[in-house]
Symmetry: C2
Subunit: 194 residues, 2 copies
């Protein structure tokens, strides 16, 4: 690649507000094609991708998620409650109905390292979404099992994330990152930072 | 990016045999810099990176992992046993001592979505390793807790993977991927494939 991957991932930031432009279905397919090139435990490829474009289903999904979120936000610990407050993140999940595209990603829990492998593929998909100048947020419903009926998904498939995808209209900046010095050790834990 | 991400990830394949060329420490640092640009649950950045270059530590690590692997391979189910056999994957883990670099990645389990976020960052790091023309395998020891003493890592940090990194001398081809048609559904599970 001529331009560096570091530039692309630095540019990427989480987006909860999208403009009205549709996502080209070829672009969405391209993103999934990149994701499934990820390696997986024993090459089991435990991932499934559910494109949700039925407006009624999206309305129901949002309602169910927001019910769950209300309970979650009431019971969250003080530190996280403060973080949500500071970021103005509430139980409302308008992006579930307003984002141009919605992509749910599941993992087959009967496979080895299903969750790990699927999040690895989600890492791939976040980068390719940015390559396509699209944006997303890795939304994780508090109780994914409670959504199974909506999708008709089998018990062994865990809903890992729902990605609202579109062109960003979100004014928020990328969250700050810790410096690598604090995150890298050599040989022994914290013994000698690089 | 001028060349496509799809080409890069298609080219990438898991590598267990490396040639003798050293990995530039700046390249390794660049890879970690890319990884920590990944998003994480509530921006908690639960990841830690441990560079293992002490030969004695690597020898001990390999011994401990191989002990675990012997037991694991004896007890694995028939399907996986057959898969390992077909791929000639055994309990031996020579790459733990022979790979030019070794990078262990941990997640802080006190943070929300620690494992998910860390595997997302591992997805990032696999792509940047390929960008640098380097190769790796996402090696997961069967009993990561049994290695804690070696690293002096605290209880709340889970060892997610150990990445042997170097230039590939592995003749193995990339594992085949299922077609996207089998992996993508629309609105309802398997109701209508795209």
């Amino acid at each position: 690649m001529n331009s560096k991957l570091l530039d692309l991932v630095k540019k990427r930031s989480t987006t909860r507000i999208f403009d009205s432009r549709e996502v080209n279905s070829e672009d969405l397919l391209y993103c999934i094609r990149v994701a499934i090139q990820a390696p997986s435990g024993a090459n089991r490829q435990p991932w499934r991708f559910l494109i949700i474009d039925d407006p009624l289903l999206r309305k129901e999904l949002r309602e169910k998620c927001e019910e769950q979120e209300k309970i979650f936000h009431e019971n969250v610990n003080a530190e996280l409650k403060e973080w949500f407050r500071s970021k103005q993140i509430m139980w409302h999940k308008p992006h579930l109905t307003s984002a141009p595209s919605l992509l749910a990603i599941f993992s087959d829990q009967n496979m080895v390292y299903a969750t790990e492998s699927t999040w690895l593929a989600i890492g791939y998909i976040l980068i390719v979404i940015e390559e396509k100048s699209l944006s997303t947020v890795t939304y994780t419903p508090p109780h994914p099992k409670g959504l199974r009926e909506l999708f008709g998904s089998p018990e062994n498939f865990r809903l890992e994330t729902i990605l609202p995808i579109g062109y960003s209209a979100d004014p928020k900046q990328k969250e700050e990152r810790q410096s690598t010095e604090k995150l890298i050790y050599r040989n022994r834990w914290r013994e000698l930072n690089v």
